[in-house]
C-alpha cells in the first residue's frame, strides 16, 4: 500500500508540473463545444433551450472520458516505447499488476479533476442564456465522478496496451470519436425509446452510462437512466476494462 501511494504521489507531482498543457489539452474541446452549442446557437435561436440542459452533463462525461484516457495513455506511450522507464516501477515490491492499478487511479484523478473544473466553466458560459435546469447534487456527483474517472482510465489502459504506441493518435479518431457521438452525450437515454430495441445497442458504449450518471448528478430533473442499470453498467465496464487492461499491461511489460 505504501508503494502504491508513493507511485501515486510521483504521478501527482509530475501532473502538477505539467498542469497547464494537460488541462488545455483536455478542456479546450468541450469548452468550445459549449460555447457554440450552449451559447451561440441558442442565442441565434437555432437550437432549443432544452438542448443545453441535455448537453451539459454529456459534455462533462466526454471531458472525463478524454481526460481519463489521456491521463493513462500519455505516460503509457512513454513506458511502452523504447525507454522502458516503467521497469523501475515494476521492480518495486508492488509488482506489475500493482503498477497497472496505480496507473488507473492516477488517470481517474486526472479525469475527476478535469470534470469538476469543466462543470463550473461550462455553467458560466451557458449562464448568459436563460432556461437551464442545472442543479448539481453534490453528494451524488462526487462518487459518480470518481467512478466515471476510474472507468475512463481503465478504458484508456485497455486501449493503450492493445495498440502499438505509435498508433495511439488513431485511437482518438477511430474509437473515441464515434464513442462520443453514440454515447448519449448529446441526447438522453430516455429519448432513445423512440428508436425501439435499437436503443439497447447504445448500452455497449461505456460513455452512455457515464453521460447518464452525470445527468443524474447534475440535472436531476431531466429524465435519466434508472440508478440500478446505471451503477451496473459503470461497475461492470470498470471491472471488465480493469481486468483486460491490467492483463495486457502485464503482457506488454513482462517478456
Amino acid at each position: 500500500m505504501t508503494v502504491f501511494l508513493a507511485l501515486l504521489q510521483r504521478d501527482v507531482l509530475v501532473a502538477r508540473r505539467n498542469a497547464g498543457p494537460l488541462l488545455v489539452a483536455t478542456l479546450t474541446q468541450p469548452i468550445l463545444v459549449v460555447l457554440v452549442f450552449g451559447n451561440l446557437l441558442p442565442r441565434m435561436q437555432l437550437v432549443a433551450d432544452e438542448f443545453r440542459t441535455v448537453m451539459l452533463p454529456g459534455l462533462m462525461a466526454i471531458t472525463m472520458m478524454m481526460a481519463g484516457v489521456q491521463g493513462v495513455l500519455m505516460p503509457l506511450v512513454q513506458d511502452l516505447s523504447g525507454g522502458r522507464e516503467v521497469d523501475e516501477r515494476i521492480l518495486t515490491p508492488i509488482g506489475v499488476r500493482g503498477v497497472a492499478l496505480e496507473r488507473i487511479v492516477a488517470g481517474a484523478l486526472h479525469a475527476a479533476v478535469a470534470g469538476l473544473i469543466a462543470l463550473p466553466a461550462m455553467m458560466l458560459l451557458m449562464h448568459q442564456v436563460s432556461g437551464m435546469e442545472v442543479h448539481p447534487a453534490w453528494p451524488a456527483l462526487l462518487p459518480l465522478a470518481a467512478l466515471c474517472g476510474l472507468l475512463s482510465a481503465a478504458f484508456g489502459l485497455t486501449l493503450g496496451t492493445h495498440v502499438q504506441p505509435r498508433f495511439s493518435g488513431l485511437l482518438f479518431a477511430v474509437v473515441l470519436g464515434p464513442m462520443m457521438l453514440f454515447g448519449c452525450a448529446y441526447y438522453p437515454w430516455a429519448a432513445l425509446a423512440a428508436l425501439g430495441p435499437v436503443r439497447y445497442l447504445f448500452l455497449l458504449n461505456p460513455l452512455t452510462f457515464m453521460s447518464e450518471a452525470m445527468r443524474l448528478a447534475v440535472t436531476p430533473n431531466v429524465p435519466h437512466m434508472p440508478l440500478g442499470l446505471l451503477l451496473g453498467g459503470l461497475l461492470g465496464f470498470l471491472a471488465l476494462f480493469t481486468i483486460l487492461g491490467a492483463r495486457s499491461f502485464e503482457r506488454r511489460t513482462i517478456l
Binding site: 515490491p93 508492488i94 513482462i254
Partner: protein
C-alpha cells in the same frame, strides 16, 4: 547457501506472425555466492540480458528455476524483490523527475522513511560523483553520468544483489575506469554483483568468476586465471598470412607447437588468414615457424606473440573473434 542459484534456465521468446520463436537461453545453470563479483561474458545476442531479465522478473522464464536466498524469484515475492537491484542495459531514468528526486522517489517506492531516503540520496550522489547534477533532469546528463545515477538509484533500497547489464558499454575509457573503481568499491563493501559485458579486459580485471556465454549456453565457467590455464601451451603465437596452400600440417609438426587453430577474421575483405599457435617457448621456435611459413610459399603479414588472455580463451572456445 548460494545467494543466487540459476538452475537450467530456458527462455524462448514466442515468435510473431512473421518472426520465428527465438531460443535466447537454452539451459543455463550457475550459482553466485554472497559477496562475489560474477561476470557473464558474451557477444551480442548471446542471451546475457535475457538471463539478467529472468533473474529480475522482467522476463518470464520458459523453464528452469531461479532462487534468490532460497526464494523462488519467478513468483516475484516482494521480499525477494527488495534484495535485488537492477542497472539495465538501456538507460531508463524517470525523465519527469530531477536526479535527486529519482533517488528519493525510488526510496519511497521501497518504503524508506523520509529522513533516511534524503540522507542516503545525498550520500550516494556524493559517492557516485553526480552531486553537482542533483537538480538536473536525466536527459541533460552524459551517458557515464546517467549510468552512475542508475547505480545510485539501484543502491537506494540497500539491496544484497546488484545486477548490472553492460554497465560500461558506450562509455569512454576514462568513464569506464571510474565505473570500475566504483564497482570494486561496492564489492569490497560486501555487495554481491553480477555484471554482463562483452569487454574481455573488463571481465578479466573485475570479475572473480565468470561464465562465457554464447548462443544461450554457458561455454565455460571459472576464475579468469583458471580459464587461461585451460589453454594448451604457455603462450599464444598469432600469424596473419596469405598462403597458396595449407600451412597447418607443417606448423603442427614443429616441436613446441601444442595446438593450432584457424580464427575467423570477420569482414576485413583482405585474404589474410589468421592462424593461432599455442606454443611452449623454446630456443629457435620462432625461427622454425617463420621458416615453415616461407617454405609454404606464404606471405607473412603480421605476427604477435603474447601471454594467453581471456580473448584467447574465447577464441579457443568459439573459433571467433569477439569484436568490440
Amino acid at each position: 547457501m548460494s545467494l543466487l542459484v540459476v538452475d537450467n534456465l530456458v527462455k524462448t521468446y514466442p515468435g510473431g506472425r512473421k518472426s520465428p520463436p527465438v531460443e535466447a537461453v537454452r539451459g543455463i545453470s550457475f550459482a553466485v555466492e554472497k559477496g562475489e563479483l560474477f561476470g557473464l561474458l558474451g557477444p551480442n545476442g548471446a542471451g546475457k540480458s535475457t538471463t539478467i531479465g529472468c533473474i529480475n522478473t522482467l522476463v518470464r522464464p520458459t523453464a528452469g528455476r531461479i532462487l534468490v536466498d532460497g526464494v523462488d524469484i519467478t513468483r516475484a515475492p516482494p521480499e525477494a524483490k527488495r534484495r535485488i537491484a537492477v542497472v539495465p542495459q538501456t538507460r531508463n531514468l524517470d525523465s519527469d523527475l530531477t536526479v535527486r528526486e529519482i533517488l528519493t522517489y525510488h526510496g519511497r517506492y521501497f518504503g524508506l522513511p523520509a529522513a533516511e531516503r534524503e540522507a542516503r540520496a545525498d550520500r550516494l550522489l556524493e559517492e557516485l560523483k553526480v552531486a553537482d547534477k542533483a537538480r538536473a533532469k536525466p536527459k541533460t546528463l552524459s551517458g557515464g553520468q546517467q549510468q552512475r545515477v542508475m547505480i545510485a538509484r539501484a543502491l537506494m533500497h540497500d539491496p544484497q544483489l546488484v545486477l548490472l547489464d553492460e554497465p560500461t558499454t558506450g562509455l569512454d575509457p576514462q568513464a569506464r575506469r571510474l565505473l570500475w573503481d566504483i564497482l570494486r568499491g561496492l564489492h569490497q563493501r560486501g555487495l554481491t554483483l553480477i555484471l554482463t559485458t562483452h569487454y574481455m579486459e573488463e571481465a578479466d580485471r573485475l570479475c572473480q568468476r565468470l561464465a562465457i556465454v554464447d548462443h544461450g549456453r554457458i561455454l565455460t565457467l571459472d576464475t579468469p586465471a583458471a580459464l587461461k590455464k585451460t589453454l594448451p601451451g604457455a603462450q599464444v603465437l598469432d600469424l596473419w598470412v596469405r598462403a597458396p596452400r595449407p600451412l597447418a600440417p607443417q606448423l603442427r609438426a614443429i616441436p613446441g607447437v601444442q595446438n593450432l587453430e584457424h580464427v575467423e577474421v570477420e569482414g576485413d575483405g583482405d585474404e589474410h588468414e589468421r592462424l593461432r599457435l599455442f606454443v611452449d617457448p623454446k630456443d629457435g621456435l620462432l625461427d622454425r615457424v617463420l621458416h615453415a611459413v616461407r617454405e609454404g610459399g606464404a606471405d607473412l603479414h603480421h605476427v604477435n606473440l603474447a601471454q594467453p588472455s581471456l580473448e584467447d580463451v574465447y577464441i579457443h572456445l568459439t573459433g571467433k573473434e569477439l569484436r568490440e
